[in-house]
């Protein structure tokens, strides 16, 4: 009698949980991360201060979007990087789980909807409280970069781009960097390049600032340290910038997934090429 040993089953061939299950687990990890809680706490304190002063949206409304973009987006870069590299730190354990690296990366990308949702909530808070207590220029009668004084669609596009897409793009970029460059210090380098690039590029000549992954959509009149008036900045069309940022988010996700694409490489490369062309066209239209 011969005994046939059971065929070894690769972890990925076992009953693999659907990506949504993994994504939910990663989303919970993201939402409970201390950095996300810290960033959320700072924003809640700032919102509380605004409610007390009845001035949630100030004259420098769009300039204020740097807070959610940085606290959720750039912090999100580090959080997503940490969550992704945690797979390397626990490689022996992760390797035995019934799933593939591609599915885990996809789950991490889906978990980035947590900060994006936070961005949507912040956008709604801004819109609602901006309608209740509209920003008042000094002296009254000057323009403010807000609904009413500015066309609705560009204004909404500017808010979506500078809050929601920034909150989504930072974490997606964090996953991509961690998948491709998991070396020591890559999170630090990524944060510094992201922030310094945006801070430096804001002064680029002409419309070149529109190429940046984040920029301030408004110009302001400031005298004696007080914001007197503000308006939508020339040189970038908000709607096209919104499309450009959406393409960048998609490119970051595709780049992250490409690391372990396997049989899906061709599909991902095609998607990436379409998104890259879309990004170039969108930023060209935005600058024109």
């Amino acid at each position: 009698m011969t005994i046939t040993p059971p065929r070894p089953v690769a972890p990925a061939e076992q009953a693999a949980p659907p990506v949504t299950t993994l994504a939910l687990a990663e989303a919970r990890r993201y939402a409970r991360h201390p950095l996300f809680l810290l960033a959320g706490s700072v924003l809640i304190v700032a919102l509380g201060a605004g409610l007390v002063q009845r001035e949630v949206v100030t004259v420098s409304a769009l300039e204020g979007t740097v807070a959610p973009a940085f606290l959720i987006g750039v912090f999100g870069f580090v959080i997503a990087h940490r969550l992704t590299t945690s797979m390397h730190r626990t490689g022996d354990v992760v390797g035995t789980t019934p799933t593939t690296p591609l599915r885990r990366t996809a789950a991490l990308c889906l978990a980035c909807l947590v900060p994006a949702t936070a961005g949507v909530v912040l956008l709604l808070i801004d819109v609602v409280f901006g309608a209740i207590w509209p920003p008042e220029p000094v002296p009254p009668g000057q323009t403010v970069a807000w609904f009413g004084d500015q066309p609705t669609v560009p204004m909404l596009a500017a808010l979506v781009a500078s809050i929601v897409l920034a909150c989504l793009g930072g974490p997606l970029l964090g996953v991509a960097v961690a998948r491709w460059a998991p070396f020591r210090g890559s999170a630090l380098l990524g944060v510094v390049l992201l922030v310094v690039g945006c801070a430096y590029g804001d002064d680029l000549p002409g419309s070149w600032f529109a190429v940046l992954p984040w920029f301030n959509f408004s110009d302001s009149l400031v005298t004696d340290g007080i914001f007197r008036a503000s308006w939508l900045r020339d040189g970038a069309i908000p709607v096209w910038t919104c499309v450009y940022y959406a393409c960048l988010c998609g490119l970051a996700a595709v780049a992250a997934l490409l690391r372990d694409a396997g049989d899906h490489r061709r599909t991902l490369l095609t998607t990436g090429a379409i998104l890259a062309v879309g990004a170039v066209l969108a930023v060209t239209f935005s600058m024109s």
């Binding site: 950095l35 700072v42 700032a46 201060a49 204020g64 740097v66 807070a67 940085f70 606290l71 750039v74 912090f75 580090v78 990087h81 940490r82 590299t85 020591r184 210090g185 999170a187 630090l188 380098l189 944060v191 510094v192 922030v195 310094v196 801070a199 430096y200 002064d203 000549p205």
Partner: protein
């Protein structure tokens, strides 16, 4: 060979220092009028300052703590060399800044760099003592995020500017001294006798 092992964590600090210096030079070359804005200088300086967070990284921490050759002896080489690398890089950056950003407040910036550098190292030392083998990555990233938050977010920025520009702003030296104390105490060997006020 022992020296090479001891200097391994300092190598990361050297890479960060070189990176910060290179970034400043690139920005100086790219900026249209060859004057780097003080705000950007501040960001690059903070990048350099968080480098010493990597000085406590040790993949073999658990083994090292049980080795006959005490870890604290190795740190006596690693830490000074790492801070020396950071200091030399800052001096070179000051030389570049004299041309690239003449308006940068180098005095207060130097104290801030010292405070953040020693603070980041102390935080890493505390985590290392608590058994985290490579605390550098998380401490450096969190330190730079906190420092950038102070710079970027309005109300906090106002507080920091007040603290760093006022003539009586003597709190950075206090941060340096306190963080150094915490770091030195945390670098002691785990098996070393506890500090006691009574002998």
């Amino acid at each position: 060979m022992r020296w090479v092992v001891a200097l391994r964590p300092a190598r990361t600090v050297g890479v960060v220092a070189l990176g910060a210096l290179a970034l400043l030079l690139v920005l100086w070359a790219l900026v249209p009028d060859h004057v780097v804005p003080p705000f950007v200088v501040h960001l690059v300086a903070l990048f350099l300052a968080v480098g010493p967070a990597y000085l406590m990284d040790d993949e073999a921490l658990e083994v090292a703590q049980t080795a006959p050759r005490r870890r604290s002896l190795r740190l006596r080489v690693t830490v000074p060399v790492g801070f020396a690398a950071c200091g030399v890089a800052w001096l070179l950056m000051l030389a570049v800044l004299s041309q690239a950003s003449p308006d940068a407040p180098v005095g207060s910036l130097t104290w801030q760099v010292a405070g953040v550098a020693v603070g980041a190292w102390a935080a890493s030392a505390v985590l290392s003592r608590r058994g985290v083998p490579c605390p550098g990555g998380v401490v450096a990233a969190v330190s730079v995020l906190v420092a950038f938050t102070e710079l970027l977010i309005g109300p906090l920025r106002a507080v920091v500017e007040t603290l760093t520009t006022a003539p009586s702003a003597s709190w950075w030296p206090v941060v340096v001294v306190l963080a150094a104390l915490v770091g030195v105490v945390s670098c002691r060997d785990v098996a070393a006798p506890r500090l006691s006020l009574t002998s």
